[in-house]
Symmetry: C3
Subunit: 340 residues, 3 copies
């Protein structure tokens, strides 16, 4: 990042209409409440509009409706139809993440047969095994492991201590955060009959599309036969589990602890809120939202929002009510009897 | 793996009756639907039997009942009582996982006092501390850490970036996937009275039996006093948590996110489905199955299947029903009053 | 740890009244049931008092009420008002964890601009980036990554394979277990309108107070704007998720899989049992306890205990009752109609 940017260059990048002095320079971005006079702010949620009056920011990214009329905001403004998207797009200009050192660190260990693209940044203690491919402009953080024949596309960013097994195919501009594991064996075992389990070797791979982001401590297992597949533009949070042979459609969003059990599929443009999980061998269609901690126990064929779970109570109230959940079928039968 | 295998050598390994030309060679294994003419397939689930007619595979691993009668499968067959087990056993022949490089990589750091068995494969950036023991034929992936005095039996496979603390005893033929942590401190603290917590140092260790498989990003904590113990043949998926001083009986299966809280025990031959968790200080007997996302809040003394949770609904329906869960005790009392 | 300690030096450290021979030496600590004649034991829970009679320990840490009267314990005793706290405090004397090798291992890679305090123990394959600060007396295990400008206070212990991103500020005497990730990007994206997501760069950092313990495979994300903040004395178990811009108050305890979704706050002296999760953008006040697997869906303003969830049943019973949960609103309406 540079030290500062002028309002006019920001307006140009965002395609925003600028009201105010384009020569004014800003060094950061913050909330309406916290932004100082050398920072940018934004109004993305109507409930914060009351903070405009006391906002100290150099300029506010804002929708047109707030800058006209008697109650209008009078300060410098970058006027956009979608200020939240504007904030998201400009946020990169103020990102403090250090640029990874270009080249291959002498303490990285790269197999001779690996193909390393131009302008990569491979940190210390990275291990890249035979016939792996690292696309141009990609960075691998300290301690990353890339197994044999796995491929990363161009401009990927893999953070420290990520493990990528063999035969994993990853698209371009994919971000993977620390501690995540791509391509570990799926959980496949056949009962032997004696109570013991026979491991089913996991012969498939993993395919991940372009522009995917994967959080920290997330796991995407390789397929038993055939691949586990993550579509383009999918965003995945921390502690997520994608089991073997699952399919996640393009642009779906999976919040922390959400999961797909083996061989399930999630459509395109779906949202799994935190801890929303699909059991195995089911299909969820496109444009489905699943609320937090919902267990999806059967296929969903209609777009819409789905839920399960019980509401929050004091523990005292909950104890009284929970015991009745065990009596519900009896209650229903007694109710029916009374109705007769 | 070799490039191809003849049907006759596969039949001999599996103890299968071969119908067809034993000289035919196959290069892989796939599903009935996807297998090509140089691949093996298998029929393990009756619902796929209709795919036999159009199956292109070189041969199908199949039960005898499908190869006789007017509707019988007419192609090449490897006839077995348990085709799924046959598939599982032969799957290793087609595993693409690269053989780890034998010997100790020059960038591994092994304490002088560590005992390293024959024919090990220790990758770059492995650290093995004082008096640790690595059994013959075991492999340690890049970046694995093995703490002081810990022991791995023969033919273990530890994937990249696994962390094994000190004084952990692991049996033979144990597989541990990337990101997992064995022997971290249990979560033990005593309240000081001022609101602060006094750490209880975790003096115990971990013991893991032979033939255990542990998934990725799974944690097995060391005991507070005495050991946390995992029996023989236990299979553990990703993101599982085994807290301090828990005991898991032989051949039990723990799916992703399943957990045992402190000092709980799970019997032999149990199955915890995804996210099935035991609270602390309870005992679950042998041969218990717990369905997905069930919270086991008390000891279980009878074999069988156990559940908790609420069913999936549209969010609209769920909102109406969930509010009634908070009124259940009142409803039950009113129902009883009406009955009188 | 030393090989043995005398009862008199233990009594002096704990401020306990000693009954018995202060010259007797002990080599370890165990439970009343398991302690041998050269070990210490403790009685912290009344239900184990019956084990006193057969206890073989050299001495027992015990409350005064058990050593007088006709049923009193007659053996050597270290008498304390709070024996559990006494056990916790003395446990460190018997900890088997090896002392990390002091100094900087030659295979560690430390940026020239990093500031490394006195008496540190930095293991092999550690990477510390530009302008990071490692406080005096701190230890970093093998494979730890510390990003640019991040700071660790004095006497921290960071276990193997922990990843700490850039601009993370950690206090003194903080313990972090293996596989954990501090400062990964929060899960922030703006919808583009085409179904795609625009990443919001996570410009904030993480601040962690003194005396915090963080378990294995736990994630604490950096803030979007401003910091994610963990107070002093907070204790955090394995697989916990603290999302961007959350705040955790001093001395709160978070058991395994507990979580705060984005921008939520938890007060001081709270306890989240296993898998107790807060949805985003809510506030929970001080002195709240949340039971296992409870989903906190709204702010809590009154101290006390809170719960959600459904009780454990056999799967057979559960199936009958669960279907009624989907009919609850109808049942409530029919009940009301009958009452009229």
């Amino acid at each position: 990042m540079r030290d500062s940017y002028s309002l006019s260059e920001i307006a140009a990048f965002l395609g925003a209409e600028l009201r105010g002095d384009g020569e004014v320079r800003v060094t950061g971005i913050s909330t309406l409440h916290d932004a100082g006079p050398d920072q940018l702010a934004f109004l993305a949620n109507e409930k914060y509009a009351s903070q405009l009056a006391s906002c100290q920011a150099a300029a506010v990214i804002i929708a047109g409706k707030y800058i006209t009329g008697s109650m209008a905001f009078a300060g410098a403004a970058l006027i956009l139809d979608n200020p939240y998207l504007g904030y998201a797009r400009i946020s990169q200009w103020f990102d403090r993440a250090p640029m990874p050192a270009s080249g291959i660190h002498p303490a990285a260990i790269i197999a001779d047969s690996a193909k390393i693209g131009k302008d990569v940044a491979i940190a210390a203690n990275v291990v890249v095994e035979a016939n792996a491919v690292i696309g141009a402009g990609s960075s691998l953080g300290a301690g990353v492991f890339v197994g044999a024949r796995s491929q990363l596309g161009e401009r990927c960013k893999v953070a420290a201590n990520v493990s990528i097994y063999h035969d994993v195919i990853i698209g371009a501009k994919v971000i993977i955060h620390s501690g995540s594991v791509i391509g570990a064996d799926g959980f496949g075992f056949a009962p032997v009959g004696t109570g013991e389990w026979q491991k089913i070797y996991q012969i498939g791979g993993v395919e991940i599309g372009d522009n995917v982001e994967i959080g920290a401590c997330t796991t995407i297992d390789r397929g038993a036969l055939g691949d586990t597949r993550i579509g383009r533009g999918v965003i995945i949070d921390n502690h997520v589990q994608i089991a073997h042979n699952c399919v996640v459609g393009d642009n779906s969003a999976l919040a922390a602890y959400s999961a797909l059990a083996g061989s399930s599929s999630l459509g395109k443009n779906c949202i799994l809120a935190g801890d929303a999980c699909l059991v195995g061998h089911i299909q969820v269609c496109d444009n489905v939202q699943v609320t937090a901690r919902t267990l999806v126990t059967k296929s969903i064929t209609e777009p819409g929002s789905y839920s399960s779970g019980s509401p929050l109570m004091t523990t005292r109230e909950w104890r009284k009510n929970a015991v009745r959940m065990s009596q519900l079928d009896s209650m229903a039968r007694r109710l029916k009897a009374l109705e007769k």
